[in-house]
């Protein structure tokens, strides 16, 4: 290696020109949208407020950012010379423990939180972070079956989540069922056992909807499939909003029964959880129970999708993802293959939805907007389609990171009192999606090897072609 390769010459004039160009573009983009703010005066008149300082700082940031990126790219040649060594056997072995390690950490998470912050602060950390992230991990793993394994881009996954949530809520709060159960078994039965009876039912209903919505779109592929599923998701949401007699409209459904500990309610009564186990009453037991409940549901999703991959139907999914025409000419029934992927994915969405409704105790159509679908899809895609570990990592980063923004109160001291980091969460989220696609279009863990292979693993040709090697 000679000297010139290790110290590449950087053309600073060119860098400066590029950065200046970017700054001019940024000025053009932002001078009206950021430099001027439309505001409502006290007498309801619209007024314009000028913000030259903010505009200047953002344009300056763009200039500096473009300059640094340019510098990084110019000096990159020296760095990529060092070829990445393939993973040594020891490292590869270590990497294969990553998923069990992640799951082990999640399993121990409530205990760790309890030990570090104590019972008082723990509810927030277990609920807002733990349960929230696990719901998305479960949804991600469910959607992974449709998108990652079968390669069907579904932008309306939240519809099945909604079907699960509404199935559980409507049946659990339905007066005739309650009266019937009270007469047949006992007055307190339905309130305690509703969740456990309706959880599988919600999943099955969601699976039915998966077949129902999957059937008409079988012929579509790629972008068109994505748009039609989006349309279905929106139709379901709009019907939930407008059919007030059925779903309560915008007001939603409230006082949904919470899950019991297999028949023992979480309350301060004598037959409650704390009294039965001789513990002092605290709401934290319910939170910890909910955490392990969604943890178990998520693990079930992962286990089922891992096992299914090795079954003929799972192999058919993977074949379908790689090449539909080849698949059909080999005699695989693509209709059944697609429908099973849709309905199994939908079923797990339904489970997650029922859990969500039981955890919140209140649902409304607001929770099932398109952005949620996009968020779940982003988790699957950013994690690397088909990878279980990838979904865990990207859920922790995206959902946990976004939740963390709420905790950044100290930023108020820097940017002034009106600064609310939480309002930037979707902005950052969208930015992450774009940047991830630019940086790693295949996701964090891009594993598309076939699950089953004969004698030795070979790289899949279509993989290489699509990456641009072919």
């Amino acid at each position: 290696m000679n000297e010139t390769a290790s110290t590449p010459s950087v053309d600073y004039v060119q860098l400066f020109k590029d950065a200046l160009f970017a700054a001019v573009i940024a000025f053009g983009l932002f001078s009206l949208m950021i430099g001027v703010k439309t505001d409502q005066a006290l007498n309801n008149q619209m007024i314009l407020v000028l913000r030259p300082g903010l505009l200047a700082s953002i344009v300056g940031l763009v200039f500096a950012g473009r300059f640094l990126i340019g510098y990084w790219q110019a000096t990159r040649i020296a760095r990529v010379k060092v070829k990445k060594a393939p993973l040594s056997p020891a490292m590869a072995k270590l990497a294969s423990y990553a998923l069990p390690a992640c799951i082990g950490f999640l399993f121990a998470y409530p205990v760790l939180v309890l030990l570090t912050v104590g019972p008082a602060g723990a509810i927030k950390w277990i609920d807002n972070f733990g349960i929230q992230i696990l719901i998305y991990i479960m949804l991600g793993w469910g959607l992974n079956i449709v998108v990652g394994l079968a390669g069907l881009l579904d932008l309306g996954y939240v519809a099945f989540y909604a079907v699960g949530a509404y199935s559980y809520s409507l049946l659990a709060t339905s007066m005739p069922i309650k009266a019937f159960m009270a007469e047949m078994i006992g007055p307190s039965f339905w309130g305690l056992w509703a969740f456990w009876i309706l959880l599988p039912l919600s999943g099955i209903l969601a699976a039915f909807w998966g077949v129902l919505l999957g059937f008409p779109v079988l012929r579509l592929r790629g972008d068109y499939l994505a748009i039609v599923t989006l349309a279905f998701g929106e139709i379901i949401r709009l019907v939930l909003i407008n059919w007030v007699d059925f779903s309560g409209g915008y007001a939603g459904i409230s006082s949904i029964p919470r899950p019991s500990f297999f028949g023992i309610p979480f309350n301060a009564a004598d037959n409650g959880f704390s009294a039965t186990f001789g513990l002092e009453f605290s709401p934290i037991y319910r939170t910890i129970f909910l955490f392990y409940l969604i943890f178990a549901l998520a693990l079930l999703t992962a286990a089922v999708s891992m096992r299914l991959r090795r079954l003929p139907v799972g192999r058919a999914w993977e074949a379908l993802r790689e090449d539909e025409i080849a698949c059909r000419s080999l005699g695989i029934n693509t209709v059944n293959t697609k429908l099973t992927a849709f309905s199994i994915g939908a079923m797990f969405g339904g489970f997650a939805g029922a859990f969500f409704a039981a955890r919140q105790g209140f649902i409304s159509p607001e929770s099932f907007v398109f952005i949620e679908s996009a968020q779940i899809l982003a988790i699957v895609v950013l994690g690397g389609m088909g990878s279980l570990l990838g979904v865990v990592i990207s859920s922790i980063i995206l959902v946990g990171g976004v939740e963390l923004l709420r905790e950044l109160d100290f930023l108020k001291n820097v940017f002034g009192d009106g600064f609310d980091p939480a309002q930037y969460r979707m902005l950052i989220f969208g930015l992450c999606m774009v940047l991830m696609m630019l940086w790693k279009p295949r996701g964090l863990i891009s594993q598309r090897d076939p699950t089953v292979f004969l004698k030795e693993k070979k790289s899949v040709s279509s993989d290489l072609v699509k990456e641009g090697h072919g």
Binding site: V217, M437, P441
Partner: protein, 307 residues
């Protein structure tokens, strides 16, 4: 009859706006085969730019008839320029690098861009509705029978006339100029077009700029017609315009406008005769039905599946 006529006028006006947005979808899909999911939000941004320019000028020059006219004209022009810049930047930053990547990458990047744009406007301009004072409220009564008037407002005439003029201009550009030829060549085969000396990158960038300019016209019209805009206004008109593009046959310019007008008519008649609550359901259902049963659209060419 009067109701029908009135709704016909309203529907065509609305359809013209959808048609203008749909052209952006159809041109981009035609040339690089991707659904530019962020296009609806580009339309929303154009309405915001027009709003800010309009308010700035009327704040300086007052609300006389001439001032309003100049303010609208300048709002239209500046909005076209700024929105074009936005779409150019989006293509350059978020899509160009992904052109050779696997199929879903540009779509996901576009979804991210759509979320980014609408939230950028929410953060930069606030989440509230942004109204402008009512302008051009005069109407022409076409028919007056038994107290029910069929009226067409100057706004509606303006929207239809501007749409018609712009369509003619764009149709001429695409059909008769070297630029349009380059575009159609890239549509057919990018590699071959590049070998024959066409700057493919620039042609695609120009396509995005043209789509954005038309979306900006639609945005300005939307603002004058409804008099209010909010950061979330990109999504639903965006999906409806995409429906229009698909209905007309994706890749076809006249198809986009035809589809836009059909969608506008269906929406207004649905609201007038059935139920206003379900008008978006109607639009989304049409989207699903057309994609499932008639993916080539009214004026499009059927797609041949190649192995």
């Amino acid at each position: 009859m009067e109701v029908f006529l009135q709704q016909l006028i309203n529907g065509v006006t609305l359809g013209a706006v959808y048609g203008l947005i749909a052209i952006g979808y159809t041109m981009v899909f035609g040339i690089i085969g991707m659904v530019n999911f962020a296009h609806g939000d580009v339309f929303m941004i154009s309405a915001f730019v027009a709003l800010i320019v309009f308010m700035a000028i009327t704040a300086l020059a007052g609300f006389s008839g001439g001032a309003v006219f100049i303010a609208l004209l300048l709002a239209l022009i500046i909005s076209m320029v700024v929105t074009s810049l936005y779409n150019w930047t989006i293509e350059r930053v978020a899509y160009r690098k992904l052109r050779g990547s696997f199929r879903l990458a540009p779509l996901i990047s576009a979804i991210g861009m759509s979320i980014l744009l609408s939230n950028f406007v929410q953060v930069a301009q606030g989440a509230r509705n942004k109204p402008i004072p009512p302008i051009m409220r005069d109407t022409i009564t076409i028919m007056d029978r038994g107290g029910f008037q069929v009226a067409i407002s100057y706004k509606q005439i303006l929207i239809m006339v501007v749409t018609a003029i712009l369509l003619t201009v764009f149709w001429y550009v695409v059909q008769k100029t070297p630029l349009g030829r380059a575009q159609r060549a890239c549509e057919q085969d990018q590699k071959m077009a590049a070998l024959l000396g066409i700057n493919v990158d620039r042609t695609i960038a120009v396509t995005f700029v043209m789509g954005a300019a038309l979306a900006a016209v639609a945005g300005t019209m939307f603002l004058t017609y409804y008099g209010v805009v909010v950061f979330s206004d990109g999504f639903v008109p965006g999906v409806k315009a995409f429906t229009a593009a698909v209905l007309g046959g994706i890749g076809s310019l006249p198809g986009a406008v035809l589809g836009g007008i059909l969608i506008g008519l269906i929406e207004t008649f649905w609201s007038a005769y059935f139920s206003i609550d379900y008008k978006d359901v109607a639009a989304f259902s049409i989207l699903a039905i057309v994609l499932i049963f008639m993916p080539q659209g009214l004026l499009g060419k059927p797609e041949v599946e190649k192995v």
